[in-house]
Symmetry: C2
Subunit: 253 residues, 2 copies
DNA sequence: AATTCGGTTGTTTGAAATGAACAATAAAGG
DNA sequence: CCTTTATTGTTCATTTCAAACAACCGAATT
């Protein structure tokens, strides 16, 4: 079995949403269509895609209902960068640890990549929580409060209080905006307070930030560079950022 | 175009997850397979199902990954009864009200039926919360705490405390078991405490109970018949239950 | 090096599913 | 009652499919 071909086919389908046999045959002229069909069947058995007449569709794509499109758009922008970041982040996690996963599409990416082990997971996002419950054997805790329609985060007074009483080994914080002068900021006061509370409680603070977030300002600063331990990005951050990080003893991956 | 046939086909697919053409042909012997195929294509164009070779699959179902199957099984047992119950329940709800939706598959059914209005929704289930966020314009509040893998309920001390501070006009409580002697009971102490707290805070308490739950005992009683205002069931409850309900001034739908 | 073995890939082939095109039927409107 | 339009049924050529077997590859064993 050619594993690479199968993962290639899968990523192609995941990025395009669907394929036809003809497409695949052009894409992989070296292999026979029977083999491609076998690959599709395999991927279907793994619940990655579903077979249709003359091709296949991505399950990810289908599972996103019409109403979710607004959120979907955000999920899909810069998806490659987010996958890179999440792949780096998942390496920092080991079983039986207590981890916090923020709300947002990058964290969701990370949640999907978690190996099926037992962790103690805290999160403020119901979608992340469900993903972790389903795909790992972890204990999952969710902060309570009102759900923000934009990023699906639960926040508010209750959430802050909840997080003030837990110890986390490693917290993964999504970042809506960063600016050298104002630090990490976001557009919602509740989210900002929750992030602050978590950063205070976490032994290690890891920030997930794709390079498009750099140079943007939002109203509420929740952390400075000096407050975090590791910044994970996609390798396209400018030199000034890297210098400033080094000055603050922050590792950049 | 026969609209009823198409909605029938759709609900059949939604409840079973998938169909084959043969199945449909047996189900609708009056119509030709070409027509059925046309129906499937139509439903696909409406994003209700996706066509496969020799049949179709529910989109809802696909979004449920392999790991979710355990929960899925519960979702699918007695699905008709649950739909009947949810349909009755949704009639009790009007816009701008503050409502509580319990965890569990019956509540999830109810959530899916909510018209797109603005409510103030409180729930202890992240899947219910997401459904309501996506399909209505409501303000959605989630209780915090640990997620129970069996029923996807968030419960624990935090959840109880959270619910003690809110006012709900109408609470829909799912029931795992009922017995004339021990009242409504469930198998988890945390869930039981949360249900108790909600019943205390709700102006009107509505219990969603399919008839299969009658005559079963579980360790933790969270309410007596006299504590609730309305019991919604599927019309298959025994006379003794109805008598007892009348004695306690409980309406049975 | 030759042999064997497990697994993957290619080819042939008959069966199944599909949709186009046209015929039949039902429904709607004058 | 006739005309028009939409839906449904039937036939049929085309496409897609997987079973079965053959060929191939690579690794382990002799």
């Amino acid at each position: 079995m050619n594993k690479k071909r199968r993962t290639d086919i899968n990523s192609y389908i995941q990025s395009k949403g669907e394929v036809t046999m003809n497409e695949l045959e052009n894409l992989f002229p070296q292999v026979s269509s029977m083999t491609l069909r076998r690959d599709l069947n395999y991927l279907e058995s793994q619940n990655k895609i579903i077979r249709t007449r003359g091709g296949a569709k991505s399950i990810e794509f289908l599972s996103i209902g019409a109403q979710e499109e607004r959120y979907l758009k955000k999920t899909l922008t810069h998806i490659d960068e987010k996958n890179i970041i999440a792949a780096k982040a998942v390496k920092l996690i080991s079983p039986e640890r207590s981890i916090f996963l923020d709300a947002g599409s990058t964290s969701m990416c990370l949640a999907k990549m978690l190996p099926d082990e037992r962790y103690y997971v805290f999160t403020s996002a119901p979608n992340v929580a469900m993903e972790v419950v389903y795909s790992t054997s972890s204990t999952v805790n969710l902060t309570g409060g009102e759900i923000n329609r934009d990023n699906l985060a639960v926040s508010g007074a209750g959430a802050v209080e909840f997080m003030e009483n837990v110890n986390v080994d490693i917290a993964f914080i999504g970042v809506p905006a960063f600016d050298l002068h104002n630090g990490f900021s976001c557009g919602n006061i509740n989210d900002s307070q929750l992030k602050k509370a978590i950063i205070k409680r976490a032994a290690k603070v890891v920030v997930l930030m794709d390079s498009y977030k750099n140079g943007i300002n939002l109203p509420y600063t929740f952390a400075r560079l000096s407050d975090v331990d590791i910044v994970i990005s996609d390798g396209k951050l400018p030199k000034e950022f890297l210098d400033e990080a080094k000055k603050n003893n922050v590792k950049v991956l």
